[in-house]
């Protein structure tokens, strides 16, 4: 049962990354791929129907973590207190920017929100990368199960550690580029004209950059966390997911060249999703790694709630999850085809 819930949470967080990832990536590229008001509205129309529902995956995954592993949620959210509020403020800025921009037909108003949307998206990409970096590196857990991290110390990735150090920044750079690649692939699929051309070119270039950084990050992480590397070698499921990720990565190039942009976007989705899930498999059962004493780590086994509580929560999850997937199928079908900027004063 504990394994099932670990899997559920890994799946929901992965869905968050691949779904909200494309609109975060599109936001990070907003000023780059769209220059005129019409082009920018194309970008916003492309992500407009999805961004809010995409963000719900984060809320729902958080809720699932709350039910199944309350000690992990409590320790993690309070330990990263400072960084989390920066994330929340960026989420506010970004959400408001998408929804408010179209309400006033004024160039300054639009420019303000375009910049806010772009800055918020870039910062969120970086913060989520930093968060992943912290999970991989570990945190200074005390025997009480709590920890507190300041934003930075000496950036050395050695105790006393902070949220930002060279390693977590490296992960953040990779995450931002990966999300931008994903966003570019989405825009190449969902837009036409100049935005489509620029996004297609950027997909190619960003994925080349990902190809260069991916091995570096893998090697660095294996050196820092040999246990993760050994877990990878001994778990066939991780190979399978890693292979899926690699296939998706190659697919982006193959399908972008052939002009099959939906397939390229699905390739990008497989790349990100495979990478996330493979990481989760390698980390299992550790959920919150302790930097100095492995015995203090919060794991799926020592941080889970009672088995009966897990059983009960599985009932509503088994109804709610397919429903959520169904809504996504419905909105993707209703908004199929290329996104265009609607008439003045309508749409995003």
């Amino acid at each position: 049962m504990v394994e099932v819930w670990y899997g559920i949470i890994a799946l929901m967080l992965t869905l968050y990354v691949v779904m909200d990832g494309f609109d975060l990536g599109a936001g990070a590229l907003h000023l780059l791929v769209a220059h005129t008001n019409d082009e920018r509205r194309q970008v916003l129309s492309a992500i407009g129907p999805y961004w809010d529902a995409n963000e719900v995956w984060l809320i729902a995954a958080g809720g699932a973590l709350f039910v199944a592993f309350p000690a992990v949620l409590a320790s993690g959210l309070s330990g990263f207190y400072f960084a989390l509020f920066l994330v929340l403020w960026c989420l506010i800025l970004r959400g408001v920017a998408i929804e408010f921009r179209g309400h006033v037909q004024n160039d300054l108003w639009r420019e303000f929100w375009d910049r806010g949307f772009s800055a918020g998206s870039i910062l969120l990409g970086i913060f989520f990368g930093v968060a992943l970096g912290n999970l991989l590196r570990g945190v200074p857990l005390e025997s009480s199960g709590w920890f507190a991290l300041t934003l930075f110390t000496d950036f050395s990735a050695r105790p006393p550690i902070g949220i930002l150090d060279w390693y977590t920044i490296l992960v953040a750079v990779f995450a931002l580029i990966a999300l931008m690649g994903h966003g570019a692939a989405f825009l190449a699929w969902k837009t036409a004209g100049a935005v489509h051309e620029r996004s297609t070119r950027l997909t190619w270039r960003l994925y080349l950059l990902i190809g260069a950084l991916w091995p570096v990050l893998t090697v660095v992480t294996s050196i820092m966390q040999p246990a993760m590397w050994h877990a990878f070698l001994s778990r066939p499921l991780a190979w399978l997911l890693g292979a899926g990720s690699l296939a998706g990565f190659s697919g982006v190039f193959v399908f972008t060249r052939r002009g099959r942009h939906l397939s390229a976007f699905l390739g990008s989705t497989a790349f990100l999703g495979g990478l996330m899930l493979a990481t989760a498999v390698c980390l299992f059962p550790v959920m919150l790694r302790s930097v100095d004493n492995a015995a203090l780590s919060l794991t799926a086994y020592n941080a889970s709630t009672d088995a009966r509580g897990l059983q009960i929560a599985l009932y509503w999850w088994a109804i709610g999850f397919p429903l959520a997937v169904l809504y996504f199928v419905v909105i993707f079908r209703l908004h199929r085809g290329k996104a265009t900027a609607a008439g003045e004063g309508e749409g995003y």
Binding site: P49, G62, G63, F66, A71, A74, S75, L77, W146, T305
Partner: protein, 448 residues
Amino acid sequence: MADPVFWHRLQFAFTIVFHYLFPVLTMGLALLIVIMKAIGLARDDLRWDAAARFWIRIFGITFAVGVVTGVPMEFQFGTNWAAFSRYAGSVIGNTLAMEGLFAFFLESSFLSLLIFGEKRLGRRGHFAVAIALFAGSWLSGYFIIATNAFMQRPVGFAVGPGGSLYVADFAAFLLNPWALAQYAHNMISAVVTASFVVASVGAYYALQRVHADQAQIFLRIGTIAGLVSSLLVAFPTGDTQAKLVARYQPVALAAMEGRFTSGGMAELNIIGQPNVQAQRLDNPIRIPGALSFLAYGTFHSNVRGLNEFPEQNWPNNIELLYYAFHLMAGLGTIMIAIMALASLLLWRDRLMHSRKMLWVLMLTFPFPYIAVITGWMTAELGRQPWLIYGLLRTADGASPQVHSGTVLFTLIGFGGIYFVLGVLYLFLVGREIVHGPVMTTIGEPSHG
């Protein structure tokens, strides 16, 4: 520097009050929009479609602010109340996660279709989307109320490994009688809020002598829904809620009423300032026996005063609790009177020309907001000193390793961000109201 728990509480209180100003309107409006669209369809009357379209635009702006201010609420359980989250997260995580899966996905998937999809979906399709948004927002309300109800009256749980709680009886937890009563009271108060807002805009147009058709529609739906809902919010729902408090949180009832000593024929205090040091009410105006009757159904029932409870279990801000409750109840009564008078004039076909009444309707839209906020303050201050009633004290629920300096920083940050957000919201809604509703033929876009 005050104790960190003070700052944790202040931040949560500030962010939840600001947040709730938006969903309280969208939940109520969702119902009124469904009604407007239903009448438009049934009578084939385009004026009602235009009315719905106007309120959908306001709904969209309000909903967006509700979403972005709502996300921090979910996170603050973990960031600021980590000890509480570790202790009871496995229980309240159920309703919080279900809200995401069952309500938020429904709302967020169909929101942009409600706002931009009228042309694409046609009249019936768009009506269906309005119903989906209504269902989503009212479901969302239930999950949050059920979460709060567990904190007010914990049921359906068991103690698991390490002493933390988990859900043992799911039905008992989800159908907590406290949740059902509180839900009815809360959702109807959202309808009161939306009714006052709709009537207020109608009154503004009528006073300005613009958009006469829409002014009439807004005033009609606003006053009728306003009268029905402001009656229901008092009786039976408010009454049921008060009886639950009397039964399960008698010390909270004593503090709400500034009742320091026990006795039968308990009086209901209409006016008076609680003096906690001297344990009395200054210059009170009271109705003898009314509190006994309202709490227990007979005039002679004994209503226990604060003197019967150990001081460590008294709500720790008796004065504020007393004023919050009295503001809510007083405004509730005034709102019934306003809507009754307006309905009478509407029935006699004189509302559109009664400028005095229109002025009142235009200016009183803040009343339901104040009543809703003070109502929630009554619930939450009355729950003190407990975070989960009888199980966990608020002082023991905060994040142990987050200090005052950190919380104050984020509180100041929220202050600045929410100020700007509030100004932007008023600016955008003001523009929509000035711009006014637009009549179009079926399926035409809404806004020129």
